[in-house]
């Protein structure tokens, strides 16, 4: 098939100029776009207000979307139940399915109960919490690992605050809107957390790997302290992250480094606690220098 000759403006001066102006606009905008990327390289927080407004606008969509996803899941179950009821001994089967579903439901409820209790305990035991909220979405198509929280500046969430779940550390708030905020996950390649080995207190650094895993590096050279199954927790060094929040479990050991799997699985996070920025007690001021 021959291509349509839609980019030939003919002899009309006006149409030719219009087409030319369109290209000028496109190229100018293209350069502006590249400029914006470079600008956000030098000032990553530069457009946070605009981005905050966008996440706020998307938050109801995301929340509504949750209900839709749940409804679709339910519909599947209902169709299956209809087919079962159509069989010969529908009565018995339905009863069996019902009790089985009830049993599963009870198990799920028990599991959820245990988790919520743990979270409730955590919420009571955490004096430095800002807000308890839900994880509502993530940047599933971008190379950066971010999740969206259903609470923003109006609930006291600020940039830089650490976020945890009942299982462990999730990450750090990097953008806030009025009713929503974005969290940089531990597993993002630009996230580094000062941590320590729980077994012997050795300081380590936990850096995201970008694909769901965490790189662990020991600060002292020449030692190989990691063992499979070791627990890594925050050390509180340098502030921001409070000490003793579990981060990861070591799954793979190399010589001085190890690969860990985060304890708070981002794919099934639902509740999260935003914490205040941890400020360690200031060291005593250095002794005044007296002249010789």
């Amino acid at each position: 098939m021959a291509p349509p000759r839609h980019r030939r403006p003919g002899f009309s001066r006006k149409a030719q100029l219009g087409l030319f102006a369109g290209y000028v606009a496109a190229v100018t905008g293209l350069l502006v776009g590249i400029g914006l990327i470079v600008a956000s390289h030098f000032d990553p927080q530069g457009f946070s207000t605009l981005r905050g407004v966008a996440t706020d606008l998307a938050a109801p969509l995301t929340n509504g979307g949750r209900a839709v996803v749940r409804a679709i899941g339910n519909a599947g179950g209902e169709i299956a139940a209809y087919w079962n009821a159509g069989t010969q001994n529908a009565e018995l089967r339905r009863e069996l399915a019902l009790s089985r579903a009830k049993l599963t439901e009870a198990r799920i409820l028990r599991f959820e109960n245990r988790r919520l209790k743990r979270l409730a305990h955590l919420v009571e035991a955490t004096p430095d919490k800002v807000v308890v909220t839900q994880v509502v979405g993530s940047s599933a198509s971008s190379a950066r690992r971010l999740v969206t929280l259903a609470a923003g500046a109006s609930s006291g969430v600020r940039q830089g605050q650490p976020v945890r779940s009942a299982e462990g550390l999730i990450g750090r708030v990097i953008e806030t809107g009025q009713i929503s905020s974005r969290v940089l996950l531990l597993t993002d390649a630009s996230s580094t957390v000062p941590a320590r080995l729980v077994r012997n207190g050795l300081p380590v650094l936990a850096t995201g790997h970008g694909d769901g895993r965490i790189d662990l590096r020991v600060l002292t050279a020449g030692v190989a302290p990691f063992r499979r199954g070791d627990l890594i927790a925050t050390s509180g060094t340098g502030g921001v992250y409070p000490p003793n929040i579990p981060i990861a479990v070591v799954t793979e050991v190399h010589r001085e480094t190890a690969i860990g799997w985060p304890l708070a699985d981002p794919a099934r996070l639902d509740y999260a606690v935003v914490l205040k920025i941890f400020e360690p007690d200031l060291p005593p001021p250095p002794p005044a220098v007296t002249g010789p």
Partner: protein, 170 residues
């Protein structure tokens, strides 16, 4: 069809015919905020798929600058650094204009091949934009997303064709 003719028919088109392509592309971009939490970048860039499908179906409908507003909206929805989809989508549309001027013929498979090349370029460039702003994982983490996007492209083209019938229906 000459350019003048195209301009005249465009202004004569009813509101629906002009709004539907833009609205569906924006809706596809907004799919990125669906409550789907994942560890690796797996979801395809739906907005880009829709944009390409419309552009391949109706080359005369949009000028290249349409990538700027639609890309800005996509950036705001997807969490990519601001300006990345703006620049990359516009580059893609300019490249499509160039290839349209050069190509002697085109058919379905040709369109699909062009779309696959452009998707590869756009996903790699989007990764580069994210990597300029902050360190990210290696380019190989984008491969599953790319394959999924290319496989979904025929579906996007079908959807655009269906929507086009609705768009122009009297």
């Amino acid at each position: 069809m000459s350019r003048i003719e195209a301009a005249e028919t465009r202004t004569l088109l009813p509101l629906r015919a002009r709004v539907v392509p833009i609205a569906t592309t924006m809706a596809a971009s907004a799919l990125a905020v669906l409550p789907f939490v994942s560890d690796t970048p797996l979801l395809p860039p739906f907005g880009l798929l829709m944009l390409l499908a419309w552009r391949l179906l109706r080359p005369e409908m949009w000028q290249a600058w349409i990538g700027l507003p639609l890309g800005l909206f996509d950036d705001l929805m997807s969490g990519q650094p601001l300006g990345s989809a703006m620049a990359v989508w516009t580059m893609a549309l300019l490249a499509l204009d160039l290839s349209d001027n050069r190509a002697v013929w085109h058919d379905y498979w040709h369109d699909l091949l062009v779309a696959a090349l452009i998707l590869t370029f756009c996903i790699a460039a989007g990764w580069l934009a994210a990597a300029i702003v902050a360190p990210v994982a290696g380019l190989q983490t984008m491969v599953p997303q790319l394959l999924l996007s290319i496989l979904l492209m025929p579906m996007a083209m079908r959807i655009a064709a269906r929507l086009d019938r609705f768009r122009l229906a009297r």
